[in-house]
């Protein structure tokens, strides 16, 4: 009983080895980048620092810099990272990754304490980089070493066992067998509304990798390359992606094994897989905060502006209590439910596929409803939107989720509309409302008197100022450490100008010019791609890769392997710690509940990565009410 979900362990195990593989490659890349920066730094230190400053001054979009309306310097940027720490795991992770890169630069061994908890996240973040260079690489390799989708897929697969959304959006509970909780079953679901089977990305990938699908691989590869060749605005990007997804799906269904698919479920899995595959690869070009500066359209800028207003307000107004939103409930930020919901919401930045992001949102909402149900009798509150929306806002103030606005915009743009329906659509929309509320928040929207408002605002402005000051001092105190850009993606886009992979990409692009120059040609004709040009391109890549490989010193690789084994160990420890934390928070939520029961529910219900915590809460709520 104490070992959670034995059936999941092998998947986990497999995944880990895959992650290690890709980590190795990705980190190679980071090291090279870092190395390059290091070289530059030594020869022209001033240039590097100034470059960083300039870069950041345009790139800050979740800091308070704008409030004080002063010149944003690097210090602000590093402050922002810290400010995010209560909830901004992503940023924290990126920071760690940067520290790691920095450490490599200084040729010392990294011992960042929280590095391990980041395993997947760093992988994910690093993956953002690899997208750029992956495009011209072998697709097979991409599939093999693509860490993030697999990670996410494990999680989502598990989650969907918990919740299905049928094709028409009817939400149907199907996890009855797992817990004693679920109260209602559909006596006789109409055949039309039967639940879908869950999404299995691994299955999709193994199908997709079939030899027979090679033409599909070529289409995808070419699309990815061509997509990156020009700068598009968001409308164009959305149109290109949607058209290509439709096109590729049609094509795929002509080839084995997709041509043998009979059921709607199978085709659904295929659509989901395709979306995840494509969006993961394009993420750094379409997710506004990740788009490199030279590719930013005005529309991307607008997203960033909203992210910035949101980030400013979410800190400035974080003194808000539920009574300011007319919720007759006294809770504090330490309420375990609120903490847990915030944690789930913050996972949104750990994933790239729109579907995975949606699942983070749904989990967060589910936990909030758990809280509402628990508090229903105590405080005269109803389980409806009137109580849910303010609580959701309250959770956001705690979570301070980074780039929430852009995340929501990204979901709205890239989640397949056939799937963003019903309940998912409702909760995504509600979160949009909550996020927009924070973007535009002012005193008028709160139930608060002048005095209290002024007092709170003054103190939070003062606090932000002080924190900033403190970090400035800390920064000058540790003066020797080289300035770090705030975000890994920024770091990458900043350095990628000189990166070897950029050179590689460019030369591959030159070869590409023999291919059709316009994306449209893909939609018009399949014969546009001449097989011989693909072969040429292929061999040119091979040779480039050879060069590439020799650049990386074996010494470094050994060091990485060492790092990775340390990483794995730390991951184990971290997992155990996480489990304990989950247990502790559940125990806080249900103080009257027998510890043994909580353990049992956890062992029975919680999957290995803790992603279905909402289900555990449900189970305990049900037991509690008995």
């Amino acid at each position: 009983m104490s070992v959670a979900s034995p059936t999941l362990s092998p998947i986990r195990g497999n995944h880990k080895s895959v992650a290690v593989l890709s980590d190795l490659q990705d980190k190679n890349y980071i090291k090279r980048e870092a190395h390059l920066t290091g070289l530059l730094g030594k020869s022209k230190p001033v240039t590097v620092v100034r470059g960083t400053k300039e870069f950041i001054s345009t790139e800050i979009y979740d800091g308070e810099g704008t409030i004080l309306n002063e010149e944003v310097s690097f210090d602000d940027a590093s402050n922002d990272e810290d400010m995010n720490s209560p909830g901004g795991s992503h940023v924290e992770n990126e920071k760690a990754a940067l520290q790691q890169a920095d450490a490599v630069e200084a040729t010392t061994t990294t011992t960042t304490t929280d590095m391990m908890s980041l395993d997947e996240d760093v992988g994910e973040a690093e993956d953002a980089i690899s997208v750029n260079e992956d495009a011209p690489q072998e697709l097979e390799d991409e599939l093999e070493c693509d860490d993030s989708p697999k990670e996410a897929s494990n999680e989502t697969k598990i989650l969907t066992e918990e919740q299905f959304v049928d094709s028409e959006g009817a939400a149907i509970e199907v996890s009855a067998s797992r817990t004693s909780t679920i109260s209602l079953r559909i006596p006789n679901p109409p055949a039309d509304l039967k639940p879908q089977s869950s999404f299995d990305f691994q299955k999709f990938l193994s199908e997709f990798k079939a030899k027979e699908c090679q033409p599909i691989h070529r289409y995808l590869k070419s699309f990815l390359v061509q997509f990156g060749q020009r700068n598009w605005n968001i409308d164009e990007q959305v149109k290109l992606v949607k058209d290509f997804e439709d096109f590729l799906l049609k094509k795929m269904l002509e080839y084995f094994p997709f041509n043998t698919m009979q059921t709607e479920d199978e085709i659904r899995n295929c659509k989901e897989g395709l979306e995840k595959l494509i969006m993961t690869r394009l993420y750094s070009q379409v997710f506004s905060p990740a788009v490199p500066p030279n590719k930013l359209s005005e529309q991307h800028q607008n997203d960033r502006i909203s992210d910035r207003s949101y980030a400013r307000n979410v800190r400035l107004y974080d003194w808000i209590e539920l009574r300011h939103l007319d919720v007759p409930m006294e809770l504090n930020l330490h309420s375990s439910f609120i903490q847990l919901a915030a944690k789930e919401l913050n996972k949104i930045n750990n994933y790239k596929s729109p579907r995975d992001k949606v699942i983070c949102i749904l989990n967060c909402c589910k936990i909030i409803f758990g809280l509402i149900r628990q508090q229903q009798k105590l405080h005269n509150i109803e389980e409806n939107a009137d109580s849910f929306v303010p609580l959701l806002i309250y959770v956001i103030f705690l979570a301070k989720t980074t780039f929430l606005y852009s995340n929501l915009a990204y979901i709205e743009r890239y989640r397949n509309p056939d799937f963003l329906i019903g309940e998912s659509s409702y909760y995504v929309s509600t979160l949009q409302i909550a996020c927009n509320f924070i973007v535009d928040i002012s005193k008028d929207q709160l139930t608060i008197d002048d005095d209290e408002y002024q007092k709170n605002m003054a103190s939070s402005k003062g606090r932000l100022e002080k924190e900033k000051e403190k970090r400035k001092q800390q920064h000058t105190g540790t003066g020797t450490s080289s300035p770090l850009p705030r975000r890994l993606t920024d770091f990458i886009s900043q350095t990628s100008v000189e990166s070897p992979s950029e050179v590689l990409t460019k030369s591959a692009e030159l070869m590409k010019q023999r291919l059709s120059s316009s994306l449209n040609s893909f939609f018009q004709s399949d014969t546009t791609i001449e097989s011989d040009s693909l072969t040429d391109e292929h061999s040119s890549r091979q040779s480039h890769r050879g060069e590439f490989g020799s650049l990386a010193a074996t010494e470094k690789q050994l060091e990485q392997i060492k790092q990775l084994s340390i990483k794995e160990h730390k991951l184990e420890v971290e997992n155990r710690k996480k489990h304990q934390e989950t247990f502790d928070s559940l125990q806080n939520m249900f103080p009257d509940m027998d510890k043994g029961i909580i353990q049992d529910v956890l062992a029975d219900t919680l999957n290995s990565d803790g992603s279905n915590i909402g289900e555990c809460v449900d189970a305990l709520l049900a037991l509690n009410n008995e």
């Binding site: 918990e162 084995f256 589910k366 009137d386």
Partner: protein, 202 residues
């Protein structure tokens, strides 16, 4: 046995916080004979079906909205693609009708032009405290081209009828056709001639 046809519609629920709009829906969802399914996440989003004749079932996807004024300017996010709206007021609170009128104007400005709007007076069980007369609300509804009902979420009076009337008014054939088209597209994709040698055995 003839196969049943299912048409699905999105309905937004609007009204001030205290008018009991959620109770109206919960009464509808729990009282109906047809299958009742609890939502996966929480009761702010509910679904319920109404049989409008022997062969046709309408499924409502019910979107509860936060009624507090502070979210007013954001509510258009909820209206997107809604085919029906239930605007609820409390017959014992005159002010709640004014709020309802506001929502109706908003809907007419921002929602789909063909949205079916129903004005619903709740709490008919409190006749002695009535502040809004049937005539007043009805004439307003008529003037604006709305459906009008009075219900009691507490006793259930009029609730089911209200949803059924809305269901009948919805463009069912159109929705069924859209759905058929979608399905056919998938089938079409599925049955595409196989260009690969690896033909499936079936």
């Amino acid at each position: 046995m003839t196969e049943r046809r299912f048409a699905q519609f999105k309905l937004v629920l609007l009204g001030e916080s205290a008018v009991g709009k959620s109770s109206v829906v919960q009464r509808f969802v729990k009282d109906s004979f047809s299958d009742f399914r609890e939502s996966t996440i929480g009761a702010a989003f509910l679904t319920q079906t109404v049989d409008i004749d022997d062969t046709t079932t309408v499924k409502f996807e019910i979107w509860d909205t936060a009624g507090q004024e502070r979210y007013r300017s954001l509510a258009s996010i909820y209206y997107r693609n809604a085919q029906a709206a239930l605007v609820v007021y409390d017959i014992t609170q005159k002010a709640s009708l004014d709020k309802a009128k506001y929502w109706i104007k908003e809907l007419q400005k921002q929602a789909n032009s063909d949205i079916i709007i129903a004005l619903v007076g709740n709490k008919t069980d409190l006749q002695d405290q009535r502040e809004v007369s049937i005539e007043e609300a009805q004439s307003f509804a008529q003037g604006m081209g709305l459906l009008y009902f009075e219900v009691s979420a507490k006793t259930g009076q009029g609730v089911k009828e209200c949803f059924k009337q809305i269901a009948v008014k919805l463009p069912i054939e159109e929705s069924l056709k859209r759905r058929r088209d979608r399905k056919n597209r998938t089938v079409d994709l599925n049955r595409r001639p196989n260009t690969n040698e690896q033909q499936c055995s079936c």
